[in-house]
Symmetry: C2
Subunit: 362 residues, 2 copies
């Protein structure tokens, strides 16, 4: 693997010294950007955008043209894997993702099979290759997948859910069935991520968007353990780092840091300083600005970005921080505020390092 | 105050010895009960049900007729206070609560005034008196209010919200304005709860349903501190205990235990044993079964109820546990499963005490 011109993101994930704190934003290629909306209109639909490598590449690069971000992330949907399993992903207007054939009973679970990423998910690996070429080594490219549990939520509920009634009924009534499904999902996610690495992904993120809906104990069994199996099954020729993000998982950071990942993503309910004290010597941390700060104007963005950097504390060898939001950027974000955020994180974190250097030379 | 015939709930909140673990359920008077739906139909609307003391009394008592619950909770809406402020509460069919006049700007905040509970909220104190009479001292009656922050969320958003965009924009852009609003709310909530105590409420619960949406630091400032002010302003002639429940507040239990409450409510993401180690010598704990367990049948209900009791650990002097769900009971709950839950909690917790007693006599 050739080292990207800007490898700050990868160095931070490996807890190596960096000149400043790197930043990227979850859903950085998205609806808050007019150029994204233009490409999406050209594609005809969100799914067509995901499934056309050239267009996925185009939107992946758009935020990098605007802002000096330190990583690109593959533009794709979180539900490509169950779609490849044949569940029939579609998007009802204004309603979010749905499946035509949700997995509700034993027969449906037994029928689940691991898709071949080189066939059913070829459009994703093609997109990874296209994006790597277009990036020309500027910044690293992040590949990603939903976690086995999060995929299972959509597969069983048939779409988004407020209460996870269907899958939790399965969890409490037929834990064996859910476990079987999570085994298939874990194998499918590992194969999918391995294919992304082979195609050129230089870091990986596992989005466990719904792990925080689980009860303590159920989380460890049904979300964490399948993610551990995924990470254990990855072939990472260049030690491609893995970030695990359980939204609402602040109570389980210690557990998450123990499943073999390189970094733990945290949402804004977590105090970064406390998280660092708990897991910072084992894993880097990624996060955790409240995305709604970006609604409030330049002054608020500066104040709150500095607060996040101060919460993490002084940069030191052995600790790594990747700045991010605590959740995906909102479609209502004024793009100018993102520029202020990136500039503030870069400038203030450089300042912290100078302060640190002059303090140690005293 | 006359002691109720069954004062197990009050004793547990005060961390005094009890013969078994008391149980009540958030939203125990609700749509999962056919008799509730019948009364609601008679009332004509949800708001009419809340505002007619005789009908509010009727539905408050319904779950006690079915199950040997250890407390009754006033049937009312969480948004009575902002409604009394003149914001125009209404319920759009299938959409949840809305306000006709949300509080969006400085002028609207300046106009907010503390309602007089003996006038604008008279229907609530009348309901408390009616229910106390009808209960005839069987079990204690819990009064309640939304937290100042949670009320503010509805007041600013004008209804429910996924991202709390309006109020968080105010929070990050005009924290002074939000603070002013929270001062009014805290004063209004304290007056409201004091009126409920005067009318006969024997314990109080503050529902901070949306505290968990806040970033660390913002939670302490905008949700916790106003609740501390509320508790400080309560007149509690018989030391009526106060329960504070921040949904999604598992990371802040230590902070919550320090604001003068008697018990901390926890949702199912929290490990009760760890919570007890953290705050159990200062506060009782209330919770924390995942409400979706009640969907899965009698066997799952027994297993998971016992798990919650085991997680809390052995009953001992100085520690108190009130069994509850980690959130309101779902409208889809089969009523028979609730009977299994109440029976299991009572029987198994008696068994734990016998085991404990025989162990100490060895």
């Amino acid at each position: 693997m050739s080292t990207p011109a800007n490898d700050t993101f990868l160095r931070a994930l490996r807890r190596e010294p960096t000149d400043y704190t790197p930043i990227w934003l979850m859903r950085q290629a998205g609806r808050y950007l007019p150029e994204y909306n233009a490409t999406r209109r050209r594609a005809g639909s969100f799914l067509a955008l995901c499934k056309t490598p050239e267009l996925a590449c185009e939107v992946t690069l758009q935020p990098l043209e605007r802002y000096p971000l330190d990583a690109a992330i593959l533009f794709s949907d979180i539900l490509t894997v169950p779609d490849a399993m044949g569940l029939g992903l579609y998007f009802a207007e204004g309603e979010g993702p749905k499946f035509e054939r949700p997995v509700r009973d034993e027969a449906a679970v037994r029928q689940l099979a691991v898709p071949d990423p080189s066939v059913e998910l070829r459009y994703v690996t093609d997109a990874v290759r296209t994006i790597r070429g277009a990036l020309g080594g500027r910044v690293p490219l992040i590949g990603f997948s939903g976690s086995p549990w999060t995929l299972a939520c959509y597969m069983v509920e048939g779409g988004g859910s407020d209460d996870f009634r269907e899958i939790k009924t399965m969890l409490y009534r037929r834990p064996d069935l859910l476990s079987r499904m999570l085994e298939v999902n874990a194998e499918a996610v590992a194969a999918y991520l391995n294919a992304q690495i082979e195609a050129g992904a230089q870091a990986l993120m596992i989005f466990d968007s719904w792990g925080g809906a689980l009860a303590d104990a159920a989380y460890q069994r049904f979300s964490l353990e399948p993610m551990r199996r995924v990470i254990g099954a990855l072939r990472r020729p260049h030690d491609e780092p893995v970030i695990v993000f359980t939204k609402g998982g602040g109570l389980w950071l210690d557990d998450i840091a123990g499943i073999g990942c390189d970094a733990v993503g945290v949402d804004w309910t977590v105090n970064l300083g406390r998280a660092r004290a708990l897991v910072g010597s084992r894993c880097a941390l990624q996060g955790n600005l409240d995305p709604m700060v970006l609604m409030a104007g330049a002054e608020a963005v500066r104040t709150e970005a500095i607060r996040v950097l101060d919460d993490f504390g002084p940069p030191q060898a052995g600790a790594g921080h990747v700045f991010n939001l605590g959740h995906g950027i909102s479609q209502f974000t004024p793009p100018d505020n993102v520029a202020v955020l990136v500039e503030t994180v870069h400038a203030y974190s450089r300042q912290l390092r100078r302060r640190d250097a002059s303090a140690s030379s005293l």
